[in-house]
Subunit: 81 residues, 2 copies
Amino acid sequence: MKAYVYVSLKKSVLDPQGKTIQGALKKMGYKGLEDVRQGKYFEISLGDGLDRTEAEAEVGRIAREVLTNPVIEEYRFSLED
Amino acid sequence: MKAYVYVSLKKSVLDPQGKTIQGALKKMGYKGLEDVRQGKYFEISLGDGLDRTEAEAEVGRIAREVLTNPVIEEYRFSLED
């Protein structure tokens, strides 16, 4: 089973890296961009020993406790067989 | 319309950052992890001036030409209304 965890800055937190990318893309001539925000993305391969419920709990715990800084970041994740 | 672009290292490329995260998680007692790979994730807000086909072309071009290093990375993206 594979888990995909996406970590991004909270909407209320300024994202200077995203703003820089947006500015660069605009200068390069790309049209129609209103906002760019950058985040992190983790692809976790899980062993066969876990069923779906256990995997969901384990990945949730990892995302919450390790991969995300709860002060400024939020996460979401999805599981795939 | 929103576009989500995911950039990750090609499967054939070693990901030391992911290996480090995996090692740290294992030491912390998390079970059942076989592999961890890290990538980047971009959330792009597009203006209303673009229809779906144009948006797909524009985001594909941005992902291919700017956000991804084609030598070592691959990308995928999805659009959401």
